[in-house]
């Protein structure tokens, strides 16, 4: 089902873990369809000096995480921003059709970590505490998402309306 490269990354994943004093954190995912990823980055001189991942998910999700971190490591932020779901899937020699969403998550988590770093640098955002809802950013708004099921949370909500988990939103 999986390509040789996917299996190789799945069996020997690179950059597993979490950088404790990370400069940027990206967390995406949804256990309802199966995957959650957390990417932490250390940035020096606009270059991704170190990057680590934690992933809850299937073989493809783990391989994608490993590949994304390897592709981004040592790159400048501008270079890393060019990493897309497609380039990750291509580097893995393709993914089964029903697993392509995994590559979206990998690229999203990386881009979110970079965005988090840039936001922090601009003094915009507090980092969410572990276990709490994380904030997401788009061009026009900031909002909270449930860390368990990725549902966008109404402001002030204490439990996720989708999965019922207790959460804290800090927007």
């Amino acid at each position: 089902m999986y390509s040789k490269t996917v299996m190789e990354h799945f069996k020997n994943p690179r950059n597993v873990g979490e950088i404790p004093d990370a400069d940027g954190v990206g967390e995406v995912g949804n256990p309802i369809c199966g995957d959650m990823m957390k990417i932490t980055i250390k940035v020096e001189n606009d270059r991704i000096q170190d990057i680590k991942f934690l992933t809850f998910g299937c073989g493809a999700a783990i391989a994608v995480s490993s590949m994304v971190t390897e592709m981004a490591k040592g790159k400048t932020l501008e270079e890393a921003k060019k990493i897309t779901n497609k380039s990750v899937a291509d580097a893995l020699e393709g993914l089964p059709k029903n697993k392509l969403h995994c590559s979206n998550l990998g690229a999203d988590a990386l881009q979110m970590a970079i965005k988090d770093y840039e936001n922090r640098k601009a003094g915009k955002i507090k980092t969410p505490e572990t276990g709490e809802a994380y904030q997401c950013y788009t061009a026009d708004k900031n909002f909270c998402k449930c860390p368990y099921c990725n549902t966008e949370l109404p402001e002030g909500e204490k439990t996720c309306p989708m999965c019922g988990k207790m959460i804290t939103c800090q927007s």
Binding site: P31, L54, G59
Partner: protein
């Protein structure tokens, strides 16, 4: 390569006696059981011999009440659609449960599109149906109740006798999907009191692609496959005689050895459960502690996902099954696990460990050792475990 199989429910390995009987059948080059010449008559005799053996396995009063099908899916489709079509003038309401196999749920869903109505009975946290709930769900126009005997994902056994009794009192046809239990549990159609019962040869060391449907005499049911007069006009199409002969031999041996096998399976099951509890924290054993299949362990391993467990075990030549959404073609969480109250994340980390007569204790030891290692590797990678 020495494969350790803990995925018997996907397909049991064939018994050597079954293999031999099937090879002999191929070599004998039987004719078509419907022909009236010598070749045909030989084939018809083999067919009826196998039917008798299969009928004995489920204690059917007469072999004529058993028809051969292509397996559990066909048997379930036949039972449900066949009764719904035959009794369409009496009513259009069907009662079933939340944890049925897809080969029961989907034909019922198809019937809904034709104007039939359904009530689905919820289950408790062990996955059991309360017979009182069935009683309450019955309406004037209820024509069919379909509840499975033992669940193929969590192993829970339903109070079929009580439910069949309720159906009989209300003169409603009762179908039981017993694919996961026939061959493992003593299934007696007369004692259970069912009208229709589905079963499959690959769950008792027979070949895949062959199964059976018990149809109690007098049951109002249409064929699913219209065609020739085979199976006493209840299933058209030339019989899969080689598969049927294999199924007959498997049924005969299963019946003879069921009791000793039952004890063997229980020992293996206890060893697996206690080993998992000892070695791995944050797990849930799914299903009923008492009313449960002896050949199945369902375990939800928190913070990790099933497909990655399966792949890592496979690297060590150990085969198990998962009900994770990621591993399913549909990317949906198992409806059975959601029905018993598992949340989506826990459903993701659920393994179905099934075993059989060939499983040894040393295989269990090796499995437990590797599983413990795999779980620890994956948890080190899991953001949910790190948050814990």
């Amino acid at each position: 390569m020495n494969i350790i199989n803990f995925d018997y429910i996907s397909a049991n390995p064939l018994l050597p006696e079954v293999k031999n009987a099937m090879i002999t059948a191929i070599e004998n080059d039987y004719g078509n059981p419907s022909s009236s010449h010598q070749l045909g008559e030989e084939a018809a005799a083999e067919l009826e011999k196998a039917r008798e053996k299969v009928a004995r396995l489920i204690n059917a009063p007469s072999p004529d009440e058993v028809i051969f099908t292509s397996g559990g899916t066909e048997s379930n489709n036949h039972a449900i659609k066949g009764v719904a079509f035959a009794k369409r003038d009496k009513g259009k309401h069907i009662v079933t449960s939340d944890i049925e196999h897809n080969s029961v749920l989907k034909p019922i869903r198809a019937l809904r599109a034709l104007g039939y109505e359904t009530t689905s009975i919820p289950v408790d946290h062990y996955g059991r149906v309360n017979p009182d709930d069935v009683r309450k769900a019955i309406r004037e126009d209820t024509i069919l109740i379909s509840i499975m005997h033992a669940n193929n994902e969590i192993g829970t056994i339903q109070p079929i006798k009580e439910i069949a009794q309720i159906a009989r009192e209300r003169k409603i046809t009762f179908h039981c999907d017993a694919v996961a239990s026939v061959g493992v549990l003593p299934v007696d159609v007369q004692e259970l009191g069912v009208d229709l019962l589905s079963f499959s040869a690959n769950q008792f060391n027979g070949p895949s692609g062959i199964g059976g449907l018990y149809i109690r005499k007098g049951t109002n049911i249409w064929p699913l496959l219209d065609g020739g007069a085979q199976e006493r006009k209840r299933r058209g199409g030339t019989e899969n005689l080689i598969g049927i002969i294999g199924m007959g031999v498997a049924a005969e041996i299963t019946l003879k050895e069921r009791e000793s096998q039952f004890n063997h399976l229980k020992r293996i099951k206890e060893k697996i459960i206690s080993g998992i509890k000892e070695n791995i924290d944050d797990i849930i054993i799914n299903g009923h502690p008492e009313y449960s299949l002896p050949n199945l362990v369902s375990v939800s391993i928190k913070y990790i996902e099933g497909e990655s467990i399966v792949l890592m075990l496979d690297e060590e030549n150990i085969e198990v099954s998962t009900k994770s959404a990621c591993a399913s073609g549909s990317l949906r969480a198992s409806h059975v696990l959601i029905a018993i109250g598992r949340d989506y994340a826990d459903a993701q980390g659920t393994l179905v460990i099934t075993f059989g007569r060939q499983t040894t204790e040393s295989e269990v030891d090796r499995f437990l050792e590797v599983l413990t290692k795999v779980v620890s590797t994956l948890r080190k990678m899991s953001p949910l475990y790190q948050k814990k």
